[in-house]
């Protein structure tokens, strides 16, 4: 089974800062990491390969420096890494991103399963996985917490829901997105780290994957960011002084004046 895992470079912090002029994430000075949910996707890909054989190829779309980050997945045991990198891909929204990824996956060829993390920690949209499946014309299941059974032709997995899980069976090829509950990602091994040092990440441009540039990057993105801002969260508080009885009386008066219902219990 040939498996492709989609990963994204994200800032290694939960405090994402935005450039208000360009409405893009400020990546300078912030450590770049692989989206943590994608690490679970890589792990699941490796586990399936251990059971069924085949290859795990990791793919990403991004700036050239992402190649170094992709090498860390080879350190974990991935066979190959592919980076889609081209000025034409810049400024892509989730639709244009999934189009580009779909073209990369078509070029890789003979793929049985695509695994994505459920969402990226910077954008939090959770759209690329399902959108990619549409572009490929394959079925998909999101929020997979367990693969119950997988063969060359089909997959049965548990999809996490708010109040439990659903069991979904699909023919392959297909796309799944995984939640962190699915596994615990492994540490790299020395032999794979050495392989990663020497590995060359394949870089493909829009032309290499035969992509229509009108569907890529900013041109291919119907989403337009008009403004970005951090919502202001203000809490006004007032300290009530006095002994307990006095404080209670003042509080009741206050609530009454604000027309809150005050009753016994």
């Amino acid at each position: 089974m040939n498996i492709v895992v989609c990963v994204k470079q994200v800032p290694g912090t939960t405090e994402v800062k935005m450039n208000r002029e360009t409405n893009t994430i400020i990546r300078e000075g912030v450590e770049a990491i692989i989206n943590p949910f994608d690490m679970h996707a890589v792990e699941e890909g490796l586990r399936i390969r251990e059971r069924l054989g085949g290859k795990v190829t990791v793919i990403s779309m991004g700036i050239p420096s992402v190649a170094e980050l992709l090498k860390t997945t080879i350190g974990l045991g991935a066979d190959d890494a592919v980076l889609l990198s081209d000025k034409a891909f810049a400024g892509a929204d989730t639709l244009a991103t999934s189009y580009a990824l779909s073209m990369g996956i078509r070029k890789i060829g003979n793929v049985g399963l695509v695994i994505c993390g459920k969402q990226a920690t910077d954008g939090d949209t959770a759209q690329v996985g399902p959108s990619l499946a549409e572009k490929l014309g394959w079925p998909h299941t999101t929020y997979v917490r367990k693969i119950e059974e997988i063969s060359e032709n089909s997959i049965r997995c548990q999809r996490m829901t708010d109040d439990g899980y659903e069991v979904i069976e699909m023919p392959l090829p297909a796309v799944i997105t995984v939640v962190k509950e699915i596994n615990e990602p492994r540490l790299p091994s020395l032999k794979n780290m050495m392989r990663a040092k020497k590995a060359v990440v394949t870089v493909w441009t829009a032309d290499d994957v035969g992509a229509d540039k009108n569907l890529c990057g900013l041109k291919g993105s119907p989403t337009q960011v008009i403004e970005t801002f951090v919502p202001v969260h203000e809490v006004k508080s007032e300290m009530i002084e006095g002994d307990a009885e006095e404080q209670a009386r003042k509080l009741v008066d206050k609530l009454m004046s604000m027309r809150f219902p005050v009753g016994g219990c």
């Binding site: 540490l187 790299p188 020395l190 780290m193 050495m194």
Partner: protein
């Protein structure tokens, strides 16, 4: 300090550090409390290819020598000096095979150890034979194609958790130290059992047991080297593994120092962090100086050994003494800096003080090491 590690050594150190921080540190206090052997950590080490870093490449290892072993031990010990012993104790049990095993013995045992499928242990010490190793009572008597072992080994690191044991036994009492021989004994051999499991002050996640041999028959093919070479096997092995003890001590000291430094920035007394007081600053500076000096000596000794040097008993003993004395001092000072909290089990320095103590005692007490060093110095003078 940049020690100009090779890319491979750097990789080994970084990977061991990740395992220490992500896998060992979160469980260290619990495993110490329960005296639990770290099977799960051994599995992680195996999956990371670290178990065989010091084993020659032709037997499934990485061929990184004593230095690679020390780097792993140091980093693991930074998080727990007891858990790291599953790895380090295996090194001690494996070196006799690396140094004196024939190709058949190496082929049979080393790949499993390199892959982390099997752990090893070294059986020298007995109740009446510690610093005076020549007092060994365990005997091995040849009977056709077999040797029959009788006797009891004591305080054996990895004890009942190991699968492969190298045992030093007496084959000819009349020849004194030249009458010892080294044997490979596998767990499960009839007549080989485990006795008392020790309840220790520190390194509690390590298993320390008695090995009992009662008419235990092993194939003659399990003899390491020749009859009479047992003492040499033990000494040559210990020369190579003492830097491992030194690395363990170094890691323990570094771990305690890191905690003390962090705490000194957080703890506020008299309205300011205690790190602003000169009394604390000087303690921290002294601790850092000693750790760095120990590291420089340990690393250089490892490089010297791996360069193919012939005689390095003195250097090996020096780095063991210096690093273990440093660990004892640094961990004691770390407890002092944490004050009352340092004395409590919820805080991570009292354990390191307990763990540090053994490094001054085992694989040759520091007093014996000083004997070795002095003897070599005098020998050197008489050669001139």
């Amino acid at each position: 300090m940049d020690y100009f590690l090779t890319e491979e050594q750097q990789m080994i150190k970084e990977l061991a550090a990740r395992i220490a921080d992500e896998k060992i540190a979160p469980v260290a206090i619990q495993y110490d409390e329960e005296g639990r052997f770290p099977h799960d950590i051994v599995k992680v080490l195996a999956e990371s290819d670290l178990c065989g870093v010091y084993i020659p490449e032709e037997y499934g290892g990485l061929g990184g020598g004593v230095f690679a072993m020390a780097l792993v031990v140091e980093e693991l010990s930074r998080a727990c000096g007891g858990i790291s012993l599953a790895f380090a104790g295996t090194g001690l049990g494996t070196y006799p095979i690396i140094l004196f095993g024939n190709d058949e013995q190496k082929q049979k045992y080393l790949p499993d150890i390199a892959a982390g499928r099997k752990l090893a242990a070294f059986g020298l010490t007995e109740a009446d034979a510690g610093s005076d190793a020549a007092g060994i009572r365990t005997t091995a008597v040849q009977d056709g194609d077999e040797y029959i072992l009788n006797g009891t080994k004591q305080w054996i690191t990895n004890g009942e958790e190991a699968d492969i044991f190298t045992i030093i036994a007496c084959t000819d009492r009349s020849r004194g130290a030249r009458g010892f021989s080294a044997f490979i004994v596998e767990k499960g051999t009839p007549g080989f059992s485990f006795g008392k499991k020790e309840n220790k002050m520190g390194i509690r996640a390590s298993c320390t047991s008695e090995l009992i041999f009662e008419n235990c028959r092993i194939p003659k093919a399990n003899l390491l080297g020749r009859e009479g070479m047992g003492f040499l096997v033990a000494m040559k092995t210990l020369d190579r593994t003492r830097p491992g003890v030194a690395a363990q001590a170094l890691g323990i000291a570094q771990g305690a120092f890191d905690e003390a430094l962090k705490y000194s920035r957080q703890r506020v007394q008299f309205g300011q962090p205690i790190s602003s007081f000169q009394a604390i600053q000087h303690m921290l500076a002294d601790m850092a100086i000693q750790i760095e000096a120990a590291r420089a000596l340990v690393y250089q000794t490892c490089r010297y050994i791996d360069s193919g040097a012939k005689d390095f008993s003195k250097e090996s003993a020096m780095c063991k003494v210096f690093a273990s004395d440093t660990a004892m001092k640094v961990t004691t000072d770390a407890v002092q800096i944490l004050g009352g909290y340092g004395y409590m089990k919820e805080y991570p320095v009292e354990k390191r003080m307990r763990d540090a103590k053994i490094t001054q005692i085992y694989e040759g007490t520091n007093q014996i090491q000083r004997n070795v060093i002095a003897l070599e110095l005098i020998k050197g003078l008489s050669k001139k």
